[in-house]
Symmetry: D2
Subunit: 411 residues, 4 copies
């Protein structure tokens, strides 16, 4: 084969199956390899280290393969220097752009290593130069690149670092989302992870779907908000609308109605609730004027917590707080992920995937869903620490509130 | 109870369980009822007819209950006259607005009945007056009402008509999405419905998710497009991106790669495909300049078929053709539903629900998904004729192409 | 059509959709009908009553259709007399035998009505004559009929009665197993139903699969056994083996092992546990000799509760208490269903269906499973009162123990 | 730690994740390890080889850990001699018995290696001595050991060999049951595997559940039987009963009835079908006397193919051919697995697990089910070559018949 590069990777390569994925990648990209050296460690806890010479037909193929391998934490042995090319058109990256991972990433420019700000998957790397000549490197989503920006091309001069194991929520091994687990133990482990995150001064980010309302978990989540275990909520129009609909109409009309299947459509309550909040002008205004007096959104407003609602094509209304432009919504979400120490994803695939896309790999995730396929999809993404729990979100949050909020249901 | 109204409903009330749902609604809304008359018919095919006096505490509750009952095809015996109120603020409907169903609807104004244009669920009814004094009534989504519009309030003066049975795709009874059905028979029935739709001069609307690409159904769908069985496609960024990614990179890299789980994220092929089309400026331009030479999107462009792509918060890129504002996306979809005679929903819940929201109840639906919950959700929506098929979309489309395209896989 | 019979049915025919199913049955069997009279009641709670003339081609078809309709609670207006025929061969019912429902059933012999002992689905009805000439009628499974028994043939002379609504566990409407329910409310309703059953002097029958062990619900179920909320347990070899395996090896080896996926096979712990109990001779002996000191089976033995374990083709071992002959197992189960007032089915389709087959329709069921298809299958069976709850059995039992056992997890 | 043993393992350790599982096992059993040597190979296709010193607290723990590791294909470096102990009680293995894997296994007795006949999981190893002193070693299920048999104890003197990759049905990498695969390609790969198996003179074993009947796949399976692609069928009472019910009543009553959900219970057709075959005495007799003239069971009888039906606790009837004792059923199945070259498992978890339990690891499996959890459970079992396909069994068999039977649906 025409061209080759020697790469290395360190870590618990076999425990995590990562080496096998690396070799698969090389084959998938039509490349070949020789394992030059493999040191498995001797003791049970030693990391292993592999040095592999990767071959490809031409340099362009090799560069793409090397970028691919970086998603696994594989770095070239000889780092080289990063090359850049200018953006020639708004929203279009230059040919051969480096496609980012969400791992901690450093870029070498003129011999100096720069740490990438806000690592995020599938972006470009923009090199920004301040008037004083200092340079910063940060990820820029494709839609946000602007003509003239300098963007990294090729895989040269880039190093990634996979997160250390042991940072994941439960202090144990990552979970594959199997349904057969002692659920009460898992709840306690998640509670511990939340307490630890807060003790570390980090923020707790929640992502939630309307199933949280339908399974009756509103009181539990409200209690968790009140006790300071929710810093930010990412959701869609549906969660907020069903929560507010339930707050406005729920008591008088009873469980039977508010929980019925037809809740999303063909049901005038939710459009009326939407219209009411639109008249108020915002959720906060509807709380302020006494229209909304309970529920999740009310609790977030009252306790001064952040939320970002992003719309989807199936929305009615939507609520005035909803970002109807999805790119604007993504930007709003990005503005709220600093210092997140743990992300809890509850019963939504759409918003959880969107959140996973923009979070660094170093932020551990807990994904709870009754659908095993959703849990697998969310936790089996590259090098992130994801803990999947296949269970009912209603009972899960009930138990979590019992663990974390001393007087929950005991008043 | 304070106030009451006598309503009537006609149809196959017991076969469809509709009467039981009507009585549930009345109880859910805190109302009460007396069945004044019930004529079940004598022969097996006779429709039944019920006249019910519905009671509620006050007029406002009664009006809302009557609106609710109209979603079941229940009309007041004495129609009365429709009342209207002006919109006082852009995007906010007046208090007590009539919340629409997607049934054929007529509105009585000054003694004359007006048929509602484009019936759609959960909208307001705007009364528009031409300079010559003629009036039209059409549905307007909440976000699109403008100050000064006259909008119907209350349930008075409105009649709805449920679709006749027998219009559904397979000429038989509606299906509840059970998994245990002779699947080959179902494929043939859907094929018959498609031929009939085309013979009637109606259009075939498809809604498809990325599973169509992942299950290998691209050749089958391309064949169906070529044979004239796809008039319009509604989809998201993912379907189009994966299709184009597969068209650009698929052949050289093989099935193993293009079909892998990790396709959506952490995989530089799809971001590179996105960037390539963004550089071209549009999918059509990428087809024209030879960048995209095969696949679903290519076939739509080449055969001059319509497509509407609407974005979601999880999108990368997106493709330049994608509506990133979901309200704009909904408007684009609404512009393409005239004369649709059959809607085929393939392996996407998000876009199928969005489509179901804007289609009249008279358009029969076929929903194919491997997840029974998705199929149930899509077909169990009010009075629409939905046929749910729990099966693999890859094999389903393969069989459908074998049924409908004479030379498919025989060349 | 050649022959006809007039039938009647009473009850909440529309609420339950039962009338629509009756008409479907008639069509499915190739019959026809005229509705002679239909009285829907006037007030919301009035039962309806229908009189229908059913037609079929010949008497044999008519008899089979009438038997079919009896599974819906439909009786001939003119009851007639029951006819019998002798069994001519062990294990084979006579031609035209009456196939039973699990409804309360009476049989008219020589003008006198006899109540059928132990109603059960899909059996024959044996007429037994005591030496003093008194006659009893009881269900006999096909495999258990013996030559010379007199068995009812045709549908004449038989009346069935559907259970009164309001006996179901939660005192409300039956549930269709939808996943979107407030789960904590459901747990409390089930707890109330259990307390009520016990207060009524009826017995609580549990059916459980190995998921109860895998989801960590052993402590909760042990607490419920200790508090007297389990009278009988039906299960298979797997539940008992995994419970005992966990009791013997669980503590020393930790959660990671005992809960792993591979637990059922390829894992020497469970075969060793099986062998150990086989050596002891029975589960009770293994408890008595100190081999098994904790867990579900231990609690049942110590508290003197009944259990019936029935084998399946996938069993290892099995435990000495397991009925390896499934017909023997069914007989053992039948011997334990007297006075059951509530049946709780936890995370097993096989044993739950088997139990549902032999329980009278008057016994309400609660089915908990994370798989919606299992819940639907178990609760959508004829006229039985089934409440389906799609949730995680581990968290469900945890919450149930918190509701019912005062000092659970507070010691 | 007190005691240790050096073991080795060879193969594609990293591709398959096997090494990571080995290390997990050691930790789970409370042991420790040092990796003495690890040779990863240099080229892409080289096997790797590891030598590991395993430590445990005492010899008993060590022996159990070594047995556990043998399920992964790990052998002691110094094989030693096998020890045996006599069975002291029917159906009970001696303390410390060697618990088998389903890998090719050899046992060393007095310096000579004996190949184990019929490798099967979770059995004992009986050493049988012929009158002439020659010794054979074969697996004996726990229930079948008899007093006085000599059975291997401990892990000494035993070597296992994992199957070579490349024997799996599709000639490619094992599949993890992901739903997103090009389904038409998978069908063709399975067809190729079947042709190859037949060309090799091996037998095709099918395991099928009633879903095969409900999804309309009877004609396809009948065509495959006729074309010689089914040598043996393992199933339960349900498949055979529904097939025969459909053969007897299906034509006259139409699809609507025979395919309805309620088919299993509360439906007199199937009990009547059962009774009819019981009267005939056997399925073959019912075919011979003209009672059963079509369907799967008819085709098996007519073409002289084997079938083994084993009962379960939920059975009605059952058919006279059904083994009601599950241990007898297992024995009957064991008698039919010689020379099986490929096993196809269709839409049944119970019988597929039972079959997987008794098949050697060297027999490749193809598992088709619409439920991803079932597919994962069946294919993720130790070292077997399992290919899982999450799809609809009805359409799958339709496509398979189109691939394999030249005139299928073209007559």
């Amino acid at each position: 084969m025409g061209t080759s590069e020697t790469v290395e990777v360190t870590g618990h390569l076999m425990d995590s199956g990562i080496l096998s994925r690396i070799l698969d990648d090389i084959r998938d990209y039509g490349g070949d390899y020789v394992i030059d050296h493999f040191d498995v460690g001797h003791e049970a806890d030693d990391p292993s280290r592999a040095r592999i010479t990767v071959q490809a037909e031409d340099d362009s193929s090799l560069q793409r393969l090397l970028m691919r391998l970086q998603t696994r934490g594989v770095n070239p042995l000889a780092p080289g220097e990063a090359a850049t090319a200018p953006v020639e058109r708004d929203g279009v990256l230059p040919e051969g752009f480096y496609s980012t991972t969400n791992l901690d990433t450093r870029v070498r420019l003129d011999g100096a290593w720069h740490t990438v700000e806000n690592p995020e998957m599938d972006c470009g790397l923009a090199v920004l130069e301040a008037p004083d000549g200092t340079r910063r490197v940060r990820t820029v989503p494709m839609a946000d690149v602007r003509t003239g920006m300098q963007v990294v091309v090729g895989a040269s001069g880039i190093r990634v670092v996979t997160p250390e194991p042991g940072h994941e929520p439960a202090g144990g091994a990552d979970d594959d989302g199997a349904t057969d687990k002692p659920q009460a133990v898992l709840v306690r482990q998640v509670a511990d992870g939340m307490r630890r995150t807060r003790a570390d001064g980090k923020r707790l980010l929640w992502v939630a779907g309307p199933g949280v309302v339908h399974t009756g978990a509103v009181p539990a989540l409200v209690a968790l908000i009140g006790a300071g275990f929710v810093d930010t909520l990412f959701a869609g129009n549906a969660l907020a609308t069903h929560d507010i609909e339930s707050a406005i109409y729920g008591t008088s009309l009873g469980v039977g109605l508010t929980m019925s299947q037809g809740i999303e459509h063909g049901h005038e309550h939710h459009v009326r609730a939407l219209n009411t909040v639109r008249r108020a002008g915002s959720i906060a205004a509807a709380v302020a004027d006494g229209t909304v007096t309970s529920g999740i959104m009310h609790a977030l407003v009252v306790h001064g917590k952040d939320f970002v609602l992003v719309g989807s094509v199936r929305d009615d209304g939507p609520l005035p707080d909803v970002h109807t432009d999805v790119l604007e919504g993504q930007r709003a979400m990005r503005a709220h992920i600093q210092d997140v120490g743990l992300c809890l994803m509850m019963a939504t695939q759409l918003h959880s995937v969107a959140t996973g896309n923009i979070l660094p790999a170093s932020v551990p995730l807990v994904c709870v869903d009754i659908n095993p396929a959703t849990v697998t999809k969310l936790t089996d993404r590259g090098a992130s620490h994801g803990r999947g729990i296949v269970t009912d979100v209603g009972l899960f949050l009930e138990q979590l509130a019992l663990e974390l909020v001393p007087d929950y249901r005991r008043a």
